[in-house]
């Protein structure tokens, strides 16, 4: 998957959790929780959704690495099988 594809995938899962958020509003460098008001249940649901789609299991200790959209993309790129 390319970075763009990963980004699209993550944004799609975020939009399911926070339907009122438009992806254009998200600054990819900033903390997602603060930008779009995600709580711990939302973060867990996002981790579960990403796991279901990509097969990548994100341990709790790695949540801080996934805080921003850019963080998510980098983290997943390093762990997803290359195709």
């Amino acid at each position: 998957m390319t970075d763009d594809q990963i980004r699209t995938l993550v944004l799609r899962e975020i939009s399911k959790i926070a339907p009122e958020v438009e992806s254009g509003q998200i600054d990819p460098a900033l903390d997602l929780r603060e930008q779009i008001d995600l709580d711990s249940m939302d973060i867990l649901n996002l981790a579960i959704a990403i796991h279901k789609v990509t097969g990548v299991d994100i341990p709790e200790a790695d949540y801080p690495k996934m805080a921003s959209l850019n963080g998510c993309v980098g983290y997943l790129r390093a762990r997803m099988p290359r195709s």
Binding site: S40, L44, D57
Partner: protein
């Protein structure tokens, strides 16, 4: 129309999921009702057969209105002519009138009857879209939220681009009457704020609150949770809120004065412990549906219930029993970063437990100061039922239970 919480005055029937002649059993979802706060699936309390639907889809009626009549199991059916002419003087021919009971206040409806998701129905109501005319793209042709929004957009565009009539009407056109009452999202916000305000004003007027707070060392609980979650797949992980809910339920079992209802001038303790969880809505406002029998459930069961509840609250669809029967409420504002929250008791309940953010703090124990994760737990409770001494024991019990997380 059941009263789904102290703040509900009326509800609109969005959809009936049963028709006359259908058999229902306890817990079946029979109708979907819209209130200021949420779309609520109405459950039946007893088994029987639906006899008559009284309130039509789209109608808004006050709490207490009979929505439908259900003939309980074992009661004789009432023939149509007997209902039409109840005075027929033939005792052997006419069975006694069947006692009918108003349908009281779910499970997902059978798929073949599902024409639209409850969220889609609510949005259709808000946008004034006729669901019957919308082509569904969801499972089994069900109408989804996106379908409704597309239909509403198409209708707006058609209205704008429609050519003006070439022949002026002879008579003044009648004012267009919307087919259904429509509540715009902004109006829903106003309505929700109004019902929250009414319930909280009633609480502050009637309930002599007292407030207590204590710091709880969360190092054992968080340490245990971290180890536990390391062993688990992402889908099985627990949130620390689950430990708090279980500890509250077990402590409420030990201090029963904080669990139950103040009704008709007296406290009615509740044997069951249904913990209401205050969940904020993404668009603003909050709602506190219950997780049932928390004390009897495992942490895993509570986690499954909590995730399900949060997802349905965010989707705007709840079940009547969850809304109506919390016996104590928990609010956890820690996520928003505050350290202390003193709640307002939700009548007719008599206590509200608040949890703040967990922060690392200097903590003295055994003559040593160390850094520990610390959380403020508070209790707002009703002085007509309990006092600071018992309330204090309750918070001390929550603390004690959280020091042995493996036993929760």
């Amino acid at each position: 129309m059941p009263a789904l919480g102290a703040d509900m005055e009326a509800g609109t029937i969005l959809q009936w999921l049963v028709k006359p002649g259908d058999a229902v059993k306890r817990g079946d979802i029979v109708a979907v009702v819209d209130t200021e706060k949420a779309t609520i699936e109405i459950e039946v309390f007893e088994a029987g057969v639906v006899q008559t639907i009284v309130v039509r889809e789209g109608d808004k009626v006050p709490v207490g209105t009979v929505l439908a009549l259900i003939r309980a199991d074992g009661e004789a059916a009432l023939p149509a002519e007997a209902r039409a002419k109840p005075a027929a003087p033939k005792p052997e021919a006419v069975p006694p009138p069947a006692p009918t009971r108003p349908a009281a206040p779910i499970r997902p409806p059978p798929p073949h009857r599902l024409r639209a998701s409850p969220l889609a129905m609510r949005i259709a109501l808000e946008l004034g879209v006729d669901l019957g005319a919308v082509k569904g793209t969801g499972p089994d042709g069900a109408v989804t939220k996106a379908d409704v929004e597309r239909a509403a957009k198409a209708a707006r565009e058609a209205a704008v681009s429609a050519p003006p009539p070439t022949v002026p009407p002879v008579e003044a056109p009648k004012a267009a009457v919307p087919a259904r009452p429509a509540m715009a999202p902004a109006d829903r916000q106003v309505a929700m704020r109004r019902v929250i305000a009414a319930a909280m004003a009633r609480s502050k007027r009637e309930i002599p609150h007292y407030y207590l707070g204590t710091h709880i060392d969360m190092s054992r609980a968080m340490g245990w949770l971290q180890t536990e979650n390391l062993k688990r797949a992402v889908t099985e992980r627990l949130l620390y809120s689950v430990l708090l809910l279980k500890a509250v339920a077990l402590a409420a079992h030990e201090i029963p004065e904080i669990n139950g209802f103040w009704v008709d001038g007296a406290f009615k303790p509740s044997e069951a412990i249904h913990v209401g969880v205050a969940i904020s809505l993404r668009q603003g406002g909050l709602i506190a549906p219950a997780i049932h029998d928390v004390g009897k459930k495992s942490l895993d069961e509570i986690m499954v219930n909590l995730r399900d509840l949060v997802n349905r609250v965010r989707a705007g669809v709840l079940r009547s029993s969850e809304i109506a029967d919390a016996t104590i409420t928990v609010t956890s504002l820690g996520e928003q970063g505050v350290e202390t929250v003193f709640g307002v008791v939700y009548p007719p309940q008599v206590a509200l437990v608040g949890f703040g953010k967990i922060t690392e703090r200097p903590w003295a124990a055994n003559g040593m100061v160390g850094a520990r994760p610390v959380m403020m737990a508070t209790l707002a409770a009703d002085h007509r039922v309990s006092d600071g001494h018992r309330g204090g024991l309750f918070l001390a019990t929550v603390d004690r239970l959280l020091q042995e997380p493996e036993k929760l």
